[in-house]
């Protein structure tokens, strides 16, 4: 009575409905057609939602640039390209003068040195965890390294201020000045003995980007097929040679990508840098001099800047964004040449 005829050839479609619910009155054919229509609608909806999400991610940076340009318009018009080459940041001069050189220099210096210190350390940790560590040691060490990534940057800043800065001031800086002070990059100037310097900030940044680079590199190394290692070992390579010829070569592009990720984080880091770099608005010629980075200056002055100074700070933000973009573009180009030499394209 109203039930689907059992022998209508619908097969599994002819199940009775749940108890208490009147059985479907439509034919299995119509039910199937309805199901296909629902499926197509669902697929369409899914497609649109995914497109919207991707579109939002594309629109967001464009909006960012537009808002930054809008808010820095006063400064862009007033200083023009001279802003990029100006070395003075003085709101009290007549005429008022703002320039980006000391901060761009500081950002580049700290990020590059952080990479120079951080990449070998991270890579060493990644190789240890992926290749050399015994199983019982791997998991704890890996989780401690990943825990570093969860520490907020302010905590790193406090550690830097209370532990690293005095250590640099009393032990490392005098040592460097004594033995390497003849070179311009370790020269000890009159104002550079406080321990707050480009070098200290770079060390903190290196510690902060360590977990990022290490975990991404570890994944890249783990993705190396065993055949690579085995082939090297079978040809008589030592442990180090096998690691070098096998995973390290194969995961080259992954490791490079990890380094770029770390560089991105180092360039944008604010709080930890503010507390350890000395905040001096001058181009630092020696690594032991205090300096200033783009994000640190913006963070300090944003709350109290008005009018033209505010506009100049936003322009610094625009420059920082352009710098990050440039780094990413260059990294992509370099990545293409690396992968062309072989290895995974991960």
């Amino acid at each position: 009575m109203g039930e689907a005829p059992v022998g209508s050839g619908a097969g599994a479609d002819a199940r009775p409905g749940p108890p208490g619910v009147p059985p479907a009155t439509t034919s299995p054919l119509a039910r199937g057609a309805a199901r296909r229509l629902r499926a197509r609608a669902a697929d369409l909806a899914f497609g649109w939602v995914a497109l919207a999400a991707a579109g939002a991610l594309v629109v967001l940076p464009v909006l960012l640039v537009i808002v930054l340009a809008q808010n820095s318009w006063m400064s862009l018009v007033r200083f023009g390209p001279g802003f990029l080459f100006g070395r003075t940041w003085d709101p009290n001069l007549a005429p008022i003068t703002f320039g980006a050189v000391p901060f761009v220099a500081g950002t580049i210096e700290t990020s590059v040195i952080a990479l120079l210190i951080g990449v070998p350390l991270s890579l060493g940790a990644a190789v240890f965890l992926a290749e050399l560590a015994p199983d019982w040691l791997r998991a704890p060490v890996a989780s401690v390294v990943d825990l570093l990534a969860a520490v907020p940057s302010v905590v790193f800043g406090l550690w830097g201020l209370y532990v690293l800065v005095p250590f640099m001031r009393t032990s490392v800086d005098p040592f460097l000045v004594k033995y390497f002070g003849w070179s311009p990059i370790f020269a000890g100037h009159a104002g550079s003995q406080s321990g707050q310097s480009i070098l200290t900030a770079s060390i903190i940044l290196a510690v902060m980007i360590l977990p990022t680079i290490s975990s991404v590199s570890r994944e890249a190394l783990r993705a190396t097929p065993d055949s690579q290692r085995e082939a090297a070992l079978s040809l008589g390579a030592t442990r180090w040679e096998a690691t070098r010829l096998g995973p390290l070569a194969y995961a080259r592009s992954g490791i490079f990508g990890a380094a770029v990720l770390g560089l991105g984080r180092a360039m944008g880091e604010t709080m930890a840098v503010t507390m350890t770099i000395g905040n001096s608005n001058r181009v630092a010629t020696s690594l032991l001099d205090p300096g200033q980075t783009l994000s640190s200056l913006i963070a300090i002055n944003f709350g109290n800047a008005l009018a033209l100074e505010l506009s100049a700070l936003v322009e610094l933000g625009l420059i920082l964004m352009a710098l990050s973009l440039l780094v990413n573009v260059v990294a992509r180009l370099m990545l293409r040449s690396i992968t062309r030499l072989g290895g995974s394209t991960a």
Binding site: G191, Q196, G303
Partner: protein, 408 residues
């Protein structure tokens, strides 16, 4: 147990995990874990409650009379700005029983910016409003400048073997901050301090990174003392310091001076005393070297010129008590000001209730009257009676949508 096992495995078809399966699951939901979680949650709640209590002043003894509060009791007043005034503001917050003051020590410049953006009721600044700040104010609004304390800016230093009271003059300090004097045993410093053994170490110069009223006061004084400083750097809340490292807030400067040997900095006297830092005896116009303390700073305040009108905004620019006359007068003295809008209803709009406006005004009245009794304990100077009278007139003039709020 084995009998249970057997029956468990026999009946395991659709009865969930059997006992043997259970042994493979992590033993995570045993009662000991539940007890641990409960203990952690309780500890977190206790810490949160105690922390909130400390913040809300449950544990500080309120010595202020809790008798009749004026209209506008129980309001929360938001203030931000000067770190020079912060110690006294914090004490006022814990002692004011007719409302709750929340004060954020973010620096004078940020305090005025917060007031401009209407995120606070009171902006505290040691520097009077500059013309840039005035032009950034909301259209049609007027800000009243109300002095609420007098303080001295101490020159703090940390030299091993040298205690409080090193003699320093304006030209020497200008030389140090310009970078022309780089070592402590420079002839200019040793000549002022015969008998004091100064090291040959480099001077670590510390200054403020953020927009600071203390910087404004100190650089104004240096501009008076040294013409090179005046032309090269000038006086403002943020200047282009020729040398030195910069820290955020007076607390940052005091902390860095305390931890760095052979360093020098400038901060409110209260920070020098609470941090146990040595501070200098500064040369005043009468050629005497004077240590900052309540008496010596009070002598500067006693000679204050006549106050500009409270609504003069940028008209307070030239008002200063630097380098006042007298043999025992401390030369680097300053008023610290509270800025408040003259018509709270008109500026803040519908979010500002009449009761809240009354609360703001009631707190200001308390601060310039009863609040002054707390000043000397923190090495600030209480306002003199003529300044209090001018302040009271200013507070009485604060309106709410055109109506007076206070009428004492």
């Amino acid at each position: 147990m084995s009998a249970n096992n057997a029956s468990g495995t026999n009946a395991s078809a659709s009865a969930g995990p059997s006992a043997s399966d259970k042994s493979m699951l992590p033993k995570s939901s045993s009662s000991s874990h539940m007890a641990l979680y409960a203990a952690v949650v309780i500890v977190v709640i206790v810490i949160a409650v105690v922390g909130y209590g400390a913040y809300a002043g449950w544990f500080t003894k309120k010595t202020a009379a809790t008798s009749a509060c004026p209209a506008g009791t129980g309001q929360t007043i938001a203030g931000a700005g000067s770190s020079l005034a912060a110690p006294l503001m914090t004490l006022w917050a814990s002692q004011y029983s007719c409302g709750q003051l929340n004060y954020n020590s973010v620096g004078s410049g940020a305090g005025v910016t917060s007031l401009t953006q209407k995120t606070v009721d009171l902006g505290a600044s040691d520097a009077p409003l500059s013309s840039t700040q005035v032009s950034a104010l909301p259209a049609g609004s007027t800000v009243l400048t109300i002095p609420e304390l007098v303080a001295g800016v101490a020159i703090i230093y940390d030299i091993s073997g040298v205690s409080k009271g090193l003699n320093l003059s304006g030209s020497v300090l200008a030389g140090i901050y310009l970078g022309t004097i780089t070592t402590w045993n420079n002839a200019a410093i040793t000549s002022l301090n015969p008998g004091v053994k100064l090291p040959s170490a480099n001077i670590t110069v510390v200054e403020r990174a953020d927009s600071s009223g203390t910087t404004y006061v100190y650089t104004s004084w240096l501009s008076l003392e040294n013409s090179t400083w005046k032309t090269k750097v000038g006086a403002a809340t943020t200047v282009n310091w020729p040398v030195g490292i910069k820290e955020s807030g007076s607390l940052g400067v005091a902390g860095t001076v305390k931890s760095d040997p052979n360093s020098i900095g400038y901060a409110d006297l209260a920070y020098a005393i609470t941090n146990g830092l040595a501070y200098a005896a500064v040369q005043n116009p009468a050629n005497t070297y004077v240590l900052p303390n309540v008496t010596n700073v009070a002598e500067a305040a006693a000679q204050a010129p006549s106050l500009p009108a409270p609504n003069a905004e940028a008209g307070w620019d030239s008002f200063s008590i630097l380098n006042e006359a007298g043999t025992s007068t401390y030369p680097i003295a300053t008023f610290s000001y509270v800025m408040v809008y003259s018509d709270l209803g008109a500026v803040y709009g519908s979010s500002e209730s009449h009761a809240h406006a009354q609360g703001v005004v009631a707190f200001l009245w308390w601060a310039v009257t009863t609040g002054q009794t707390y000043s000397t304990g923190l090495s600030y100077v209480p306002l003199s009676s003529n300044v209090v009278i001018a302040d009271e007139a200013a507070i009485n003039s604060v309106l709410y949508n055109g109506q007076t709020l206070q009428s004492h």
